[in-house]
């Protein structure tokens, strides 16, 4: 009733292939974009810095991993390291060429991550499943070691960490200590929006379809004439590109500097959680998963204090761990296909309401 497409006729092929074929979707999406662009920049510094910016950045990383794991079926535990490549590449590039706009370098750093991703994706042709997951751990630990052991990467800083310089866009600082949260937020939002749009078209097109064919059964896909090596490597490249850009954004527009420890194995697991909880093979799921997994610990940690229960901070930490674990298991038991599936069910319910089917 609320979500009924009756009467919306598609008279052209273009209309049939639109990203949002249903009017209600278009209205809803427009409303979300309007709020994101027109209302949220005026929200409090805290909300933007603590919630919105990391949420968008992790969504981007989750999209990256989803392309690899959800769409192509290659399990990867190296996301953190690929994000690190992006951050360090961006740092080196902007140190060497300080006059070029930082946005250019954020995007360019994705290409470095993509190149490294392809390199570590090469074994994927021979090894599959969990064996491949462990192989990507080699990337994770090797790259993490490089981030610490190669001082050239962090410009021989004595602290051994990235120190983000101030860079401007149209004269307004967007990185460094003087940048306001709203300007950083707008930049992140723009990049994430554009890259999501590109991803949505990629996964619907020829490349995305060949990814999904490989995911469903790679031998059958090969028999149908899909080149496995090419398809898998493209998936690794695109996925690492997204992760790399996310890593550069994370370091430059959120953390504003930090050590390579940010890109450790836990970061990889964190993004993997978002993908699984959000829903494998779904872009909107990536956003939902990122929102849930990122905010869950924050909310849980704040809950005892908000309820006025006096607990020591360590106890709260431990309880948070336990609750997150239980919720993950519980969620998987309730809906193994993730939040994206729940969203689909909801839409169907809205379509037929008030009738049961």
């Amino acid at each position: 009733m609320f979500y009924r497409e009756a009467g919306q006729f598609k008279t052209t092929y273009a209309a049939d292939m639109a990203v949002f074929p249903v009017l209600q979707d278009r209205i809803g999406f427009g409303a979300i974009l309007a709020v994101a662009y027109l209302v949220l920049p005026f929200a409090s510094e805290f909300l933007l810095h603590v919630v919105m910016i990391p949420f968008l950045i992790f969504s981007l990383a989750a999209i990256g991993l989803n392309i690899l794991t959800g769409y192509t079926g290659l399990l990867s535990l190296g996301t953190g390291a690929f994000m690190g490549i992006g951050a360090f590449a961006c740092y080196k590039l902007t140190s060497i060429f300080p006059n070029v706009n930082i946005i250019v370098w954020v995007i360019a750093s994705g290409f470095f991550a993509a190149a490294v991703g392809v390199l570590f994706g090469l074994p994927s042709l021979r090894i599959k499943g969990f064996y491949l997951a462990v192989a990507t751990l080699a990337a994770q630990f090797f790259l993490q070691w490089c981030f610490i052991r190669i001082p050239w990467l962090y410009n021989y800083n004595s602290s051994g960490s990235i120190e983000v310089p101030e860079r401007t866009l149209f004269g307004i600082p967007i990185t460094g200590p003087t940048a306001t949260a709203s300007s950083r937020y707008l930049v992140v939002l723009a990049i994430v929006a554009v890259m999501t749009w590109i991803a949505s078209n990629l996964v619907r097109g020829r490349i995305g379809r060949s990814w999904m064919a490989v995911r469903d059964m790679d031998i059958a896909a090969e028999l149908m004439g899909i080149r496995l090596l090419q398809t898998k490597l493209v998936a690794f490249a695109v996925s690492s590109f997204y992760c790399g850009v996310a890593g550069a954004l994370l370091m430059f527009l959120w953390y504003g500097g930090g050590e390579s420890g940010v890109f450790d194995i836990n970061q990889s697991f964190f993004v993997l959680f978002m993908v699984i909880i959000g829903g494998l093979g779904s872009l909107i799921g990536s956003f939902m998963g990122a929102a849930l997994i990122y905010t869950l610990p924050i909310v849980l940690r704040a809950t005892p204090a908000a309820l006025g229960v006096p607990l020591r901070s360590e106890t709260v930490d431990h309880l948070t761990f336990m609750t997150v674990g239980v919720l993950i298991i519980g969620f998987l038991v309730l809906e193994p296909m993730g939040l994206a599936r729940l969203w689909q069910i909801t839409k169907q319910k809205l379509r037929v309401w008030p009738f049961p089917y």
């Binding site: 399990l75 599959k128 462990v134 959680f273 298991i329």
Partner: protein, 324 residues
């Protein structure tokens, strides 16, 4: 030292380490022994993985945490005033409870889901166990109650090869316990009724069900066995260093061992562990200084990756046959 010319680098990579090995054989033997001992501990963690993977097809990420959790429970119970062996008994009971709970609350509702979902569920279990363990017994590092469990101390010094090789008695005990456990598991798998059922389940869930084997029961047994292995590992590891959640990172080392040995092979886990342990220590000791230290953190994965490129199913894994 001469400058870094290509010849020099080649010399340092390909000749110098072997010269060192030749000139100081005692040091070489000592390094191999250290690697062997670490490798045995890796093997034990990998063994827990293999048991569960064989019987239920679940890639149990929580195995490393189960090691820490069981060791922590043992020490924690002892600190609360239980005698050492009573604590050991109670820990075994708790591990059984854990196996039972996991089967009932995690595996059974998720039966027939894709592998990756089950993998994620064991992640949830990992988080839960970390939180629970620290909540009950505190997060600070603890000392294993090695004396109370009558584990031997001290070292045996062997005067061989013109030098001194020192073997910790504890390490020898660890190796012996590992051997006994593997042999025990071997007998259990081959000779007992439950063992046969386990092998049947590992072969095919559906066929096992159709001849009347209870999957639920088998899973509890397997997770319990993995819990016992975890406890033994935790005791040995805890006696070598402290009991803390830092062990968790070391437990990740069991993963390259697994891919080296194959996910489904118990001898593979043992051989893989020893190969990785020795390779890692020798690499770190002889080639590590060339690259800057700390190559231990990734060398194991790279060794495993190289092996995988030649044998995608691991050294001892069953041949992967794919059909359309």
């Amino acid at each position: 030292m001469p400058g870094p010319s290509p010849v020099n680098i080649l010399y340092q990579v390909f000749i110098d380490p072997f010269v060192q090995m030749g000139t100081a054989p005692d040091l070489f033997v000592q390094t191999i022994w250290e690697g062997f001992v670490t490798g045995v501990l890796y093997s034990l963690i990998a063994l827990g993985f293999v048991l569960i993977f064989k019987a239920s097809g679940v890639f149990n990420f929580a195995q490393g945490i189960m090691v820490v959790f069981s060791a922590l429970t043992l020490v924690g119970l002892h600190q609360h005033g239980l005698p050492a062996f009573a604590a050991l008994g109670l820990t075994i009971v708790i591990m059984y409870g854990l196996a039972f709970g996991v089967e009932r609350l995690v595996l059974r509702p998720l039966v027939n889901q894709p592998d990756i979902i089950l993998f994620m569920a064991t992640f949830g279990l990992t988080y839960f166990l970390i939180g629970l363990g620290e909540l009950m017994f505190g997060g600070e590092p603890k000392t294993m109650i090695a004396d109370q469990l009558y584990l031997p101390k001290g070292a045996i010094d062997l005067h061989i090869l013109g030098g001194l090789v020192s073997l910790q008695k504890l390490d020898i005990t660890g190796a012996v316990i590992a051997l006994v456990m593997v042999a025990g598991l071997g007998v259990f798998f081959q000779k007992t009724r439950i063992g046969r059922a386990l092998r049947a389940v590992a072969d095919s869930h559906r066929a096992a069900l159709s001849v009347g084997i209870s999957l639920e029961q088998i899973w509890v047994i397997v997770w319990f066995a993995a819990g016992i292995v975890a406890l033994a590992t935790g005791v040995m590891w805890g006696a070598r260093s402290d009991v803390s959640f830092a062990l968790q990172i070391i437990a990740l080392k069991a993963l390259p061992v697994l891919i080296l040995g194959g996910f489904t092979s118990i001898p593979g886990a043992i051989v893989g562990g020893v190969v990785i342990g020795i390779g890692e220590k020798i690499g770190e000791f002889y080639w590590g200084p060339l690259l800057g230290s700390g190559i231990e953190s990734w060398l194991a994965y790279v060794i495993a990756l190289i092996f995988l490129l030649f044998r995608p199913q691991g050294l001892f894994g069953e041949r992967i046959i794919e059909r359309i």
